[in-house]
Symmetry: C2
Subunit: 419 residues, 2 copies
């Protein structure tokens, strides 16, 4: 496919690519004391999501993060806690352009005792644009290799106007003739480094646009690359809500229903159907534990939501086994993992209250695994012989599981819910 051909590109070109991530901003626009790149989303700082997005691109060799001296230690602990790789820290300057220049200087030195090497192409990205995809990174890198400079653009959402000195409309720009300049951008290292070296103090203080420096100081006209809406910059407080919603949606794309293969029982296939109805757009997969095969391993690498089905038993061997597999994996380092221990019972045989008593272990267990960022809940499903009643109950169960996955809230950890 053209996509896999494109993917092979940086390898084929054997292009040395590094990235500079200015993260020295103070976030005054947010109206919050924490700079926006350090604001937590699902308990993890925004910048860690951006690093994750760059890190998973195997052909980006080094990532230089530029932070203020005050935030240096906080940044180090973020790198440790979330196990980020290939990161070098450089101290920020007083403006965005000075910070980027510091990052480029660190790459330029190319000394034998320094682990950084001068790249052929350097990507410049923002710490507050966590949803950058490999394909746009690749496009700007390829275009920078060909043109010397390249940057992502987006259509304008609002008409741009020019005010007169008295605060009235002077003229409005024809919206279709302009674009918003976004990130990532990429440059031949020698082009952008020369631009910064020759850059006037005025530009270093008041400028914001790297493409402009390449044009002004190196006569290099950047190639413009159409980016996706996801490239938007976290700017206002509301953008943090948006980022959280997007991240929650992304990690709730798949639900793995864990069961023994022998459990091909009717109510369970009904439950799967109800889940597939309720969780529109969510891939519902099934996995069996105890085989320690590639199946489970595969699931543990990409799925952050589990429902562990127990049929007519208060026993929790299976849930416990899943939890210890999850604890051994690194899955919950980056995202909270939801585990719902689902128990089918016929409440006519044993009353609900007694069943709940039997399942009180979940409360204590949940406290333990919560420390590992695993959110455990119990769900009791009343197993009725009446088919219509059973269907209603299973629909309700699917609604509860869907809410637990989507909300991913600490507030419901250890609760026993009833469908």
């Amino acid at each position: 496919s053209s996509r896999s051909a494109a993917r092979a590109e940086p390898g084929r070109l054997s292009l040395a690519v590094a990235a500079v991530l200015p993260a020295g901003g103070s976030g005054e626009r947010m109206g919050v004391p924490t700079p926006k790149q350090f604001c937590p989303i699902l308990d993890r700082p925004l910048i860690s999501y951006t690093l994750q997005a760059l890190e998973r691109v195997c052909w980006i060799k080094d990532i230089v993060v530029v932070v203020t001296r005050e935030n240096m230690e906080a940044m180090r602990s973020i790198i440790r806690k979330y196990q980020h790789k290939h990161i070098s820290l450089v101290e920020a300057g007083v403006t965005r352009h000075r910070s980027i220049f510091n990052g480029l200087n660190a790459l330029a030195q190319d000394q034998p005792d320094c682990k950084l090497c001068k790249p052929e192409v350097v990507i410049i990205h923002d710490a507050v644009r966590p949803f950058v995809e490999e394909d746009v990174l690749l496009k700007v890198v390829i275009a920078a290799k060909a043109h010397g400079a390249a940057g992502a653009i987006r259509p304008l959402v609002s008409t741009v106007i020019s005010p007169s000195a008295d605060g009235c409309l002077d003229h409005s720009l024809e919206r279709a003739r302009y674009r918003a300049s976004e990130m990532p951008q990429a440059f031949l290292f020698d082009v952008i480094y020369k631009a910064y070296q020759q850059c006037s103090d005025y530009d270093l203080e008041f400028g914001t646009e790297c493409l402009h420096l390449a044009l002004k100081y190196c006569d290099t006209k950047a190639k413009l690359v159409e980016g996706s809406p996801d490239l938007w910059k976290v700017t206002y407080k509301r953008d943090l809500y948006t980022a959280e919603s997007i991240i929650k949606e992304r990690i709730s794309q798949e639900l793995c229903v864990v069961m023994d293969t022998k459990e091909e029982k009717e109510p369970i296939s009904y439950l799967l159907e109800a889940l597939r109805n309720e969780l529109n757009h969510v891939k519902v997969t099934c996995g069996a534990l105890g085989y320690a095969g590639r199946d489970t391993q595969h699931i543990l690498e990409q799925c952050y939501s589990f429902a562990c089905v127990n049929f007519m038993t208060s026993d929790f061997h299976k849930t416990k086994k899943l939890l210890s597999m999850l604890e051994e994996s690194d899955l919950s380092i980056l995202y909270p993992v939801v585990v719902v221990s689902v128990h089918f019972f016929d409440f006519k045989l044993v009353p609900l209250s007694q069943r709940m008593e039997n399942l009180m272990w979940i409360r204590e267990f949940a406290k333990e695994v919560k420390k590992r960022n695993i959110l455990l809940c119990g769900l009791l499903i009343s197993y009725s012989q009446d088919e219509q009643k059973l269907q209603e109950t299973l629909t309700q169960g699917a609604i509860i599981i869907a809410a637990l996955i989507r909300e991913r809230s600490l507030g419901f950890v250890g609760q026993l819910l009833v469908a």
Copy 2:
């Protein structure tokens, strides 16, 4: 205060003000089949929030909503269901400008048998900007009265660039010299109506900016008014997430803890303290039922979250009374109302499981009130004589209540949670 002085303004000027709300867009940018103005947020279409924002401004006399013929009936049922007032519907044209022109035509007719009157000033707003505040509406109206035209503006978030024909950077604009033109805008009716009447077909087809028409056809330079970040336009799918988060936050600003005044018991004052700690920025108020006084009435007019505290009893008189007061009020027409029935018990005296059995009525009751958009949950709090243990439990209880209020999810309706 200057605010109340400003508020008096449209009355003092006895200015006739109407609003036109073009809502004919098809939402192709969202990548969803439903036009964005009809996308549901907490189960209510986005446009209803925008109408609510305009409606609560007492000096806006008429609101003309312009919708396509296909959406006319859906719009009528939205107006009925959410009890919107002062709305007139007009059929949309094929472009935004043609739709606005249709709206202005409806206002211009000024016929004795038509309930619409020609206003002195007309506001033009977007159906997809639900967070418009009275103060910015007032500012554009006052400025339009003085200058003939006025519009809200915002600083540019991204640098604006001009591409050359070959898709490369031609030049970038100096960000500080430009602004984004947003909504609302306001005009002397005669100015904007004349502009539309003289407007070329080309402008009616391809233009997007009303301020530009006032300038071009009536030589009227609009006064630009600095707007708040909340004026942003719901454009992409992610903006719907944002809008939902903002609305949820707004209706979760206050929690009313309902109790009898005689219940000045220690654990309850601890609970209030825990709630105040957990619900940062949330106003925790107390209300007593049964006095039918101004207190409760006041609460029922602005608060969408209730915790009804029952001490050492499975009785649910108080919760039931609150629920019937809520059902009688119109509170839940616009937003889902959360009610948590909180029960303190000493589990050493009676086991938890039996208590849960006693409280099963909540499940059935919750199903009933859910039809009225009231989300009922139960919360059992273990009452321990051990003060430290009690504190821990109450903190946990506050976390659960906070989660129920913030998430406002249908998934947990009727559940009995345990702290």
